[in-house]
């Protein structure tokens, strides 16, 4: 079997994640979808590193994870504080960008 299939899988997951971001209104779920996309990227990286036979891909994936962790921490903190003030986790209610 050709490891390219991993890439196809990654693409599929990424797309699903993107669609989720667009569809869901619950901020937490949106975050999950983002995580999904990041993971899809990681899978692609890992696959590439295997195909090219060096570990750089894995390194990048590793960094991605770290950054993702940081992003999740901050993001969830934001969600919590928003929920505290507005008693909701829906991204649609936070349309303050348009004034």
């Amino acid at each position: 079997m050709n490891p390219v299939y991993y890439l196809y899988l990654a693409a599929l997951l990424f797309t699903i994640g993107a669609a989720g971001v667009l569809i869901r209104r619950n901020a937490i779920v949106v975050f999950m979808c983002i995580e999904l996309m990041l993971n899809a990227c990681n899978l692609a990286f890992v696959t590439f590193s295997r195909m090219h036979g060096n570990l750089d891909g894995q390194i990048i994936a590793f960094f991605t994870m770290v950054v993702a962790a940081a992003e999740v921490v901050v993001g969830l903190a934001i969600i919590v504080s928003i929920f505290r003030t507005r008693h909701t986790a829906s991204v649609d209610d936070a349309s303050l960008m348009k004034l």
């Binding site: 050709n2 899988l9 797309t15 999950m32 990681n42 894995q58 994870m65 950054v67 901050v74």
Partner: protein
């Protein structure tokens, strides 16, 4: 273990089988993630997908990453998610009804188009070369990564460290709420209550008799209806209040009937054995005598 064996070498049929099975699972999990109405379910299915991905990492020879994936992601991050979900309301199901006009169609169209583009790109990319990680992992995968991280990517590594710290601090800043004025003492609070004239005595406790003491069951008023005040407002907001007034009334009736049988008011033969729960009624009877 087959995956571990197959990773370093060319892909084996075993890996193919594994890929097709687990890949299906992963996709299913992803779909559930975005389609489940309750956040908890989404989180769980995402966790499933991630574990599958961990396996794939292992299968691709990224042992370290595989483990990290399981430990950090499914372990830490997903738990974090779950915490927040609990905080926000575990059973709160957000409706899937779309509010933005055409958003869903746009999303579907764009998503499909984007996916098709990606897949077309991959399909057209000339990815013929395939040399496994044999020699790269020769000195051990972790050692290899470590060598790279601390030589080639050391600066990036340091910066990510800084990033993590910043994130942690940021999270604290965001969530921690500074108390600006002195906390009101109990006396002041009570005085305030009296002044406002609302609910001077303590709130009624939840639960009925000793049989229910769950916080989500309201206490019953003398007429048997539920006392809204006896459950916490959060639960009320989430609509997670269990109303048990109906069944408790039914039980009350049954109890009265039994006690009357026992007193033989209706057609009671004296020679009847007292039920195991004897003493209590007896006391009750004495109480009635006085």
């Amino acid at each position: 273990m087959t995956a571990l064996a197959a990773a370093s070498s060319l892909t084996s049929t075993g890996e193919a089988v594994q890929f097709w099975i687990l890949g299906t699972v992963a996709v299913a999990g992803a779909l559930c993630t975005i389609l489940m109405r309750r956040a908890v379910h989404s989180a769980l299915s995402l966790a499933g997908t991630m574990i599958v991905l961990a396996v794939f990492y292992l299968a691709n020879g990224a042992y370290f990453l595989g483990v990290v994936q399981i430990v950090v992601y499914t372990g830490a991050i997903m738990m974090l998610f779950l915490f927040v979900v609990m905080l926000v309301g575990v059973t709160a199901a957000d409706s899937l009804k779309e509010t933005l006009k055409g958003q869903r169609w746009l999303a579907a169209g764009l998503g499909i188009g984007f996916g098709v583009l990606l897949i077309a790109g991959i399909g057209n990319a000339s990815l013929k070369e395939f040399n496994g990680l044999g020699e790269a992992n020769a000195g051990g995968n972790v050692q290899g990564l470590a060598a790279l991280i601390f030589t080639k990517y050391v600066f990036a590594f340091e910066i990510t460290g800084a990033l993590l710290i910043t994130a942690a601090v940021g999270a604290m800043v965001l969530t921690h709420r500074e108390r600006t004025e002195r906390a009101r003492t109990q006396r002041e609070q009570s005085e305030a209550r009296v002044r406002e004239g609302k609910q001077v005595p303590p709130l009624p406790a939840p639960g009925v008799y000793a049989r229910h003491n769950a916080v989500d069951i309201p206490g019953l008023l003398p007429d048997g209806t539920t006392a809204e005040l006896s459950v916490s407002p959060t639960l009320r907001e989430r609509g997670q209040v269990r109303d048990v007034s109906g069944e408790s009334l039914a039980e009350l009736k049954a109890l009265e009937r039994r006690s009357e049988d026992w007193l033989g008011r209706s057609t009671g033969d004296e020679a009847a054995e007292p039920p195991p729960g004897g003493p209590a009624p007896r006391e009750h009877k004495e109480g009635a005598k006085k």
